[in-house]
């Protein structure tokens, strides 16, 4: 088991479907929880002057209370469309989207959203940004301020409460955005590639931080990403979509035990899951057919004796 990261040992990997007892128990418990989000036969068709584009076709899945779901898929699979439909920012063509059994008709404070582009209000300080949702829902300034302080402490930004967004780093901005969404105490937190614009180091920190937050508060998270490692590291279950049209390929139960830490990236379960995701998202035959092959025979522009390899 020590040499698991060597590719030739891949043959010895357990199946990603194999779950240890602890993991199995966790999933059994999870599935007994109430269903919080239910998507049934969701279709989304864009009508343009050039004709119709099917973005989502017959998408169905369920999310239980306090579950962490990642949605993954190649570009064009409609994962962003899906989360925008869930947020109520986009309409859908047919099917049902139910939150606590009630259909979603438009954006609302019961579904918080964190965008890739931060979308903090630049004219408000960090604290005022976090207070925004409360103010919009007619909660007095004093109480809103107290609540905001609490959530800023949770994301570790209490020292920056009077700073303006342009003074913060990308990771800090996204922490403010998370606090701003959570202060409304939504039923579900929708995250659209929130760490996509961050550098590798801050992304890793933010992932750990997000899990910490998720562990400590009553929140269900739907998280969009195109990063396989990120999805496996964070999720209980991963919804894999395929492109053109966006359809559900598989809902994978991640066999990596919790609590998660970065050393698990090399564990057999992790590698097995990643191999499965890779196979789903980049099918072998499709790769050969559709992608332009990389030019192997290069023209040599340097002195023939001057070799670097």
């Amino acid at each position: 088991m020590q040499n698991m990261n060597k590719p030739e040992k891949n043959l010895l990997l357990p199946s990603y479907l194999e779950q240890s007892d602890a993991v199995k128990q966790r999933f059994d418990k999870l599935k007994q929880r109430n269903v919080i989000l239910e998507v049934k036969g969701l279709d989304k068709v864009y009508k343009t002057t050039k004709g119709e584009t099917v973005a989502l076709k017959n998408v169905s899945f369920q999310t239980h209370k306090r579950e962490f779901v990642c949605v993954i898929g190649p570009s064009g699979c409609g994962k962003s469309t899906l989360i925008r439909v869930l947020a109520g920012l986009e309409s859908y063509t047919s099917g049902e989207v139910l939150l606590d059994g009630k259909p979603i008709t438009g954006p609302g404070r019961d579904r918080g959203m964190v965008f890739q582009g931060y979308t903090l209000f630049p004219w408000r300080t960090v604290k005022q940004n976090v207070m925004f949702g409360l103010e919009m829902n007619n909660i007095g300034t004093n109480e809103a301020g107290r609540e905001a302080d609490l959530w800023l402490e949770l994301v570790g930004l209490e020292k920056f409460s009077n700073a303006y967004p342009h003074e913060l780093s990308g990771g800090m901005k996204q922490r403010v955005a998370i606090a701003r969404a959570l202060v409304n105490q939504p039923r579900i937190l929708l995250m659209d590639e929130p760490f996509g614009a961050l550098d590798a180091q801050s992304r890793c920190k933010m992932q750990t931080h997000l899990l910490e937050i998720w562990r400590n508060i009553d929140i269900t998270i739907v998280f969009i990403t195109h990063d396989l490692d990120e999805a496996i590291f964070l999720a209980d279950r991963i919804l894999v979509l395929k492109a053109h049209p966006g359809e559900v390929l598989e809902l994978i139960e991640v066999p990596v035990p919790r609590p998660r830490n970065t050393s698990q990236f090399t564990s057999p379960e992790f590698i097995a899951t990643k191999a499965r995701l890779d196979a789903l998202i980049h099918p072998q035959d499709e790769k050969e057919n559709t992608e332009t092959p990389i030019q192997q025979r290069m023209i040599r522009f340097v002195n023939v004796q001057d070799n670097v390899e």
């Binding site: 947020a87 109520g88 920012l89 438009g106 954006p107 609302g108 404070r109 579904r111 918080g112 959203m113 965008f115 582009g117 979308t119 209000f121 630049p122 004219w123 408000r124 925004f132 949702g133 103010e135 919009m136 829902n137 303006y164 342009h166 003074e167 955005a177 701003r180 969404a181 409304n184 929708l190």
Partner: protein, 321 residues
């Protein structure tokens, strides 16, 4: 220091260079003016008579065409009469810088020619009032309408095609109409400034409003903001710095309509002063008055820019310029 470092493409200049070049932008035109005025062999197409000699129509101080002067000089020399004397001079419409500088002071201290006439500072104040009210009235309607057009597509479609058409109509064309409706005093003048400003204002501000990042509105909606609160809590605060910059530019445009506006009905304000002085060929005063408009305009803009920096401290990235 190499010359090429002054011409790096789109790079910020050092503060010292910024200052030097900023001053140069004013000093260079002044230098050209000085050269033309004070170097006798450059231009100077006229001759100022110092000694009329025996030419019967010459008088001391008279400005004569160089060619005519030479002809008369040759005439007198041929007839053995006393030759006229003169020195090269510029036409009357181009006074020298020091004359205009002096006029800056004397224009304020010279009492009006007519008894009921206005002093210069009174004329200026009148002009400023016309501009102020024209701009305020235009903004009172134009700014809210622009913001609404930029926010709601229905309103934009309803208003903007007509405004797009109207803004091509030259404002002074409405002068006669404005006099017929509003009389001959300040009314029509303010109306011209309003017509000249308003239509551009609506379009520019609608555009600025549309440039606001839509994802900010989406974020606000997911936080439970309803449609009506969006305008007050996201759209308006979000565009405020840009709106302020637009207003500064529009105020500059309003000034450019001033002279035409003041010619309508009874001529008044700084325009009255300028036309009067031009009639008596006091071109030094004319230049002084024109420059005064420039100084007042630039002065207010600098003040407003300074104020804007304080008001919108959060807009740091944009304020760097």
């Amino acid at each position: 220091m190499s010359m090429s470092s002054w011409f790096t493409v789109r790079q910020e200049l050092t503060p010292d260079r910024r200052k030097i070049i900023g001053w140069a932008s004013f000093l260079l035109p002044l230098l050209i003016w000085c050269v033309v005025s004070y170097v006798p062999f450059i231009w100077h197409p006229m001759v100022a008579i110092q000694q009329p000699g025996d030419v019967d129509y010459f008088q001391v101080g008279m400005l004569i065409d160089k060619a005519t002067f030479k002809e008369e000089l040759a005439n007198m020399q041929a007839q053995d009469k006393v030759s006229p004397e003169g020195k090269p001079a510029n036409p009357i419409y181009l006074p020298a810088p020091h004359e205009v500088a002096k006029a800056f002071y004397t224009a304020f201290t010279t009492p009006p020619v007519q008894k009921d006439g206005l002093w210069l500072h009174q004329s200026l104040w009148k002009s400023i009032q016309v501009i102020f009210w024209g701009f305020v009235i235009s903004s009172l309607i134009g700014v809210p309408l622009g913001v609404l057009c930029g926010t709601y597509s229905a309103l934009s479609r309803l208003n903007e095609p007509f405004i797009e058409f109207f803004r091509y109509l030259p404002a002074p064309a409405f002068g006669a109409l404005a006099v017929a409706i509003l009389g001959i005093y300040d009314g029509p003048k303010i109306a011209i400034i309003v017509i000249g400003t308003f239509f551009q204002q609506v379009l520019i501000i609608a555009n600025t409003t549309r440039k606001l990042d839509y994802s900010l509105l989406e974020a606000a909606m997911t936080l439970g903001t309803n449609k009506f609160k969006l305008l007050q809590h996201v759209v308006i605060p979000g565009i405020l710095p840009e709106l302020y910059r637009d207003q500064r530019i529009l105020l500059g445009w309003a000034w450019t309509y001033l002279i035409v506006a003041e010619l309508i009905g009874t001529t008044s304000g700084i325009t009255w002063f300028i036309t009067q002085q031009a009639r008596y060929q006091h071109f030094d005063n004319v230049y002084a008055a024109i420059f005064m408009i420039g100084f007042i305009g630039l002065g207010t803009d600098l003040l407003l820019a300074l104020l804007g920096k304080r008001l919108f401290a959060w807009d740091k990235p944009a304020n760097k310029e």
